[in-house]
Symmetry: C2
Subunit: 401 residues, 2 copies
């Protein structure tokens, strides 16, 4: 069966994933993405004060979140977090071994690890995995690559957009893993993204930071934040466009395409949230400012009572209003309007009469839109989350350390 | 069957609860506590920006959270939140009707309502309930009183401490309802507390605020915060002590007894958290200050991943460390020590070797202590929560609006 192509669709990249025996399941667990030449690169990393050795390595080789990269090596099954100086040496060795196989500088190899916290990597398996992956690099193993970065994910998540800069065709492609411990900023999320557009590291980093705020950082599955989050964009320049200039029409085009890819990945993260049966989009408008809009939207998105109500198809707008009211955002009930789908359920300080059956049926769909107009200003922000189900508990109570 | 006495054990109070038909279950739903004379009174109310009509009434009659009260009338089954000006009139009528029956000023009657948000009170039933309750006031119906304030609570929660001020015996007794939407500050929590100690409204309020910060405000079930929270202490003065003076030995004694009662009620709230099978106490020490200690403890207490791990008896300290690291508190992994029960599971930046079976067995107990020493200062705070189970989802996905 041929896998869907994604991460190697932009020109200049090869990838693969191999089974190195790190995951008890025996599935793919070492992923390697390699460029034909050094790429412009930008990363956004977890802000958790407890972070894994690969994050420390990334900060060393890309001190301001940008620079040049040749490859990105990732293992799943063990996160290499809280493993002390020995863990950092393991991360360095992953980079060095990959670099030797690809004949490049170790400082051009980004590393990520995902899985259980607090265990040393089984380095024998990792080494063998890297060697095998380096042999197998191709443009026909995108599926293996993606499966090798997954942990509790149920779905393979990827997105590709092809567009033009002037007359030059370019592609942005992304994959992502993550389904629990997902909250701003970022999550147990690893998102390798490739493009063949030519763009400087600094401008690529600006674009990624801008876009991540509205996409990856707008998703919350369970309000928990991982120690290993890594979003990385590698730009090969192989499309042949003139390098994108700041503030240009081409920059705006590139930004829009990058946002489309990251937005699609963020949506898939919410849809594949642990135990999720619905995606919930909370759009806040009319806030005093964007910070208020974000605080209000995230408070609703993180409320277990809202998430369980949606799971139960219960049009319980009281919980939405409660979550807005407890947030750091200024809220005046008299000015607030809340809609579930198209139905106005709350305005002027109280619930409206509405057909509960209609709204309950709407809440049973795969996508639920909750719109909250605070009526106080121009601030707007949309958050994405999923419902909270028994399955979330099952997954997380039984996940073994 | 004789009920346990509690709320009327301090001298000068009578109470009862009646079935007024507000709850679909047909159980007790109107509760009335009445004092023989005006009492010193202090309240702590929700800080949610969306609040119920009874909260607005409480703020009007006790503008700075203190004053004089004769009675406290409470209904369950309907929260009278988001009900507009008509809802406020309903709350006023509850006070006025109670006052007429007890022959006192309406502004001496505190009101609380708990249950679903957004529905008008069925005032015919409420009126009949108040009338019936006023007839039935006694010192033998404490159980009916307590059952009449409960909603999804599974257990009857109360605490009584008898002590002495000099040679004068005094009693503090409290009851509380609440099991979901419980988070600082407060929760869907209504806690009527009585004492026969003589103390001024101002000093009583100072004591209550002080104690609530370490007890009720240290409990979180699901991070959600209710629109109706009310903790109220009525002090009859019937014990006969000389009125307690600020800063005195008697004040410290009174404070300690009040804290013992509130602490016991807070513990029972956590134990009766929706779907709870264990109480989890997170004690943070060594923080840079108390604000940091609170932030760190609450981040762990609110983490669904920590709560599900405990539910699964999984010694997954990585999730504890993750929750500390994402908090607003300063955390340095190298200085951090984490204990589960007596077992040191994390220090010097990494996991310790420990017997997983022993810790897993410990986590299966009814009480779980997690101690986190941040190693950075003198700040300390202890939070209480419960595990997160499938039953929480069942309760909240199926609760009907």
């Amino acid at each position: 069966m041929a896998d869907t192509r994604h991460i190697t669709l932009p020109k200049g990249f090869r990838a693969t994933g191999v089974k190195a025996g790190i995951k008890p399941s025996g599935r793919e667990d070492v992923a390697l993405l390699a460029a034909e030449a050094d790429c412009s690169a930008a990363v956004v990393l977890t802000s958790n004060q407890v972070f894994g050795a690969p994050i420390a390595w990334a900060r060393r080789i890309l001190p301001r979140g940008r620079g040049k990269l040749r490859a990105f090596v990732i293992n799943s099954g063990c996160s290499n977090v809280c493993t002390g100086p020995a863990g950092l040496r393991d991360a360095e060795e992953m980079a060095a071994r990959t670099a030797r196989r690809l004949v490049c500088d170790a400082r051009k190899v980004l590393v990520a690890s995902t899985g259980v916290i607090g265990h040393r990597l089984p380095m024998d398996k990792v080494r063998a995995g890297i060697d095998a992956a380096a042999e197998k690099l191709s443009t026909r193993h995108d599926g293996d690559f993606l499966r090798a970065i997954m942990t509790t994910d149920l779905r393979e998540k990827s997105a590709v957009v092809v567009s033009k800069l002037g007359r030059t065709k370019f592609t942005v492609a992304g994959t992502v893993k993550g389904s629990g411990m997902i909250a701003p900023s970022l999550a147990t999320m690893i998102a390798p993204i490739t493009t063949d557009a030519a763009v400087s590291p600094a401008l690529l980093h600006k674009a990624l930071k801008d876009v991540a705020g509205r996409t990856f950082n707008a998703v919350t599955v369970d309000s928990d934040q991982s120690t290993s989050d890594t979003v990385a964009v590698l730009a090969s320049g192989a499309a042949g466009n003139a390098s994108i200039r700041p503030g240009s029409k081409e920059y705006r085009k590139f930004l829009a395409v990058l946002e489309e890819v990251c937005g699609a990945l963020a949506y898939q993260l919410a849809a594949d949230g642990e135990g999720a049966t619905r995606v919930i989009r909370i759009a806040v408008t009319g806030a005093r400012g964007e910070a208020d809009a974000r605080a209000a939207a995230m408070s609703v998105a993180n409320s277990p009572l809202v998430k369980t109500a949606v799971h139960g198809s219960d049009p319980n707008w009281g919980r939405i209003v409660m979550a807005l009211g407890k947030s750091a955002a200024k809220v005046e009930p008299d000015k607030l309007k809340v809609r579930i789908g198209r139905t106005l359920v709350f305005s002027a300080g109280r619930g409206r009469k509405f057909d509960e059956k209609t709204v309950s049926t709407y809440l049973s769909g795969k996508e639920v839109d909750i719109a909250c107009d605070l009526g106080l200003g121009e601030g707007a922000f949309a958050a994405l989350t999923c419902d909270l189900s028994r399955e979330y508990i099952a997954i997380n109570a039984d996940y073994t350390t």
